[in-house]
């Protein structure tokens, strides 16, 4: 009797452990049809490539007497560490806070190049981010949480599991609990960030991650946060950790 009780307890604990484990990270790429995958893989067909091209032009531009990005990082950005690109959002010792890749680029833009500051998600910054991240295509994402960034990670987790808007759904509902299941005509993906900035057929443009968050909030009939807000950065950081182990696909092609 005692042993069977223990057995039942063990089975319950074991099944709880299985349920508590996060799902294996799967790229949005695996949720696409073969034809769309082919478009993403083909450098000439991929509709995100013009934005990469634009980004590389901005990368080489310089204002009079100032350095261009290429002056330090190489003509094609070849001096940059791919593993480091794939590790953003990352804690910056110098600034004592977590920077997204776009913020890191902007820090160079204002500090090293002494250019006029840009707003978050400025088309120039999105193009630069797309170019820089596309250099790390195929590199495994490795976003690290340390004692300084723990608070931001936890804020992100809270937001990820909070109900928003009239739909009153959480990110967790669609992208963890029901991932891979059809919601009317659409298969729900895991909402991973390894392909961002991503070309979307729905809006026919290269979309930054924070803009994608906005689009999600509008669908939930909720008031979005601002691009570059603390809340979106926390979400980006949290989902970035979820994406660990996936390969960078920028510019990915999605619906």
């Amino acid at each position: 009797m005692k042993t069977s009780g223990l057995l039942v307890c063990w089975i319950m604990l074991y099944s709880m452990q299985i349920m508590a484990q996060p799902p294996v990270p799967t790229s949005g790429y695996d949720f696409l049809g073969k034809d769309i995958q082919a478009i993403q893989d083909d450098e000439f067909l991929n509709p995100g490539m013009p934005t990469v091209e634009l980004g590389s032009q901005i990368f080489q531009e310089s204002e009079e007497g100032e350095k261009s990005c290429a002056s330090c990082h190489g003509e094609e950005g070849q001096m940059m560490d791919k593993a480091k690109i794939a590790s953003y959002p990352a804690y910056q010792k110098k600034y004592k806070k977590v920077h997204t890749l776009q913020e890191r680029i902007h820090a160079c833009w204002t500090d090293k190049q002494d250019r006029f500051p840009l707003l978050y998600d400025d088309p120039k910054l999105v193009a630069l981010e797309t170019f820089v991240r596309s250099l790390a295509r195929g590199t495994v994402i490795d976003v690290e949480v340390n004692q300084h960034s723990r608070a931001l990670y936890e804020q992100g987790e809270k937001l990820y599991k909070k109900r928003f808007g009239q739909m009153a759904m959480t990110c967790h509902h669609c992208h963890v609990q029901y991932q891979g299941i059809f919601m009317r005509g659409r298969k729900l993906t895991q909402g991973q960030t390894n392909g961002f900035p991503v070309y979307r057929f729905n809006s026919d443009r290269v979309t930054s991650l924070h803009r994608r968050f906005n689009e999600c909030f509008v669908e939930l009939r909720a008031e979005p946060f601002e691009a570059g807000s603390q809340e979106y950065k926390a979400l980006e950081f949290y989902i970035g950790v979820m994406s660990n182990g996936l390969k960078v696909e920028t510019p990915a092609v999605r619906f």
């Binding site: 909070k162 109900r163 928003f164 808007g165 009239q166 739909m167 009153a168 759904m169 509902h173 669609c174 609990q177 029901y178 299941i181 059809f182 919601m183 009317r184 005509g185 909030f217 509008v218 009939r221 909720a222 008031e223």
Partner: protein
């Protein structure tokens, strides 16, 4: 003169009170939660309205209104892409009474606090960060809810 002012302000206050009460009464009908076989149930129709099954079916299909098909499979073969998130509703009238269906439509979180299903008649103040254009509005009107319930009660599984 002094009397006039008092009279006028009293009139203003009473008009304001009457108006504000009217607006509230129009926008949201209160409901009483009861228990039926240990399941949450709402016995009385919302705002005492009567539902129409034909209209209810249209609302269930409409992507801008109920959009039930987003998550539930239903006996509506003429529409493509039935969702798989919620349980299929082919015989939903056999499983639940009208009062239980009403509670689930008003707010599925009364039954399961973790549910993904939106509260279609949840009080607007209970939403977090509701978009400005939806402020003070429920997802569906009381009439919509009653129409859908009338339609769901026709689903007994023999189709």
């Amino acid at each position: 003169m002094g009397q006039n002012i008092i009279f006028f302000s009293a009139l203003l206050v009473s008009v304001y009170l009457a108006l504000s009460q009217n607006v509230l009464a129009d926008s949201y009908c209160q409901w009483d939660l009861a228990k039926e076989n240990n399941f949450p149930a709402i016995e009385k129709p919302l705002c005492d309205l009567k539902g129409d099954a034909q209209r209810g079916k249209k609302i269930a299909i409409d992507r801008g209104l109920g959009n039930c098909l987003a998550c539930h499979a239903m006996p509506i073969p003429e529409e493509d892409f039935h969702g798989q998130i919620g349980p299929a509703l082919y015989d939903v009238a056999k499983r639940y009474s009208e009062a239980q269906l009403r509670a689930r439509m008003v707010d599925a979180k009364l039954v399961n606090p973790q549910s993904i299903m939106p509260g279609f008649y949840q009080h607007p103040d209970k939403h977090h960060r509701l978009a400005f254009r939806y402020e003070g509005k429920t997802f569906l009107s009381a009439q919509h809810i009653e129409d859908i319930i009338a339609y769901l009660l026709t689903l007994k599984g023999q189709q």
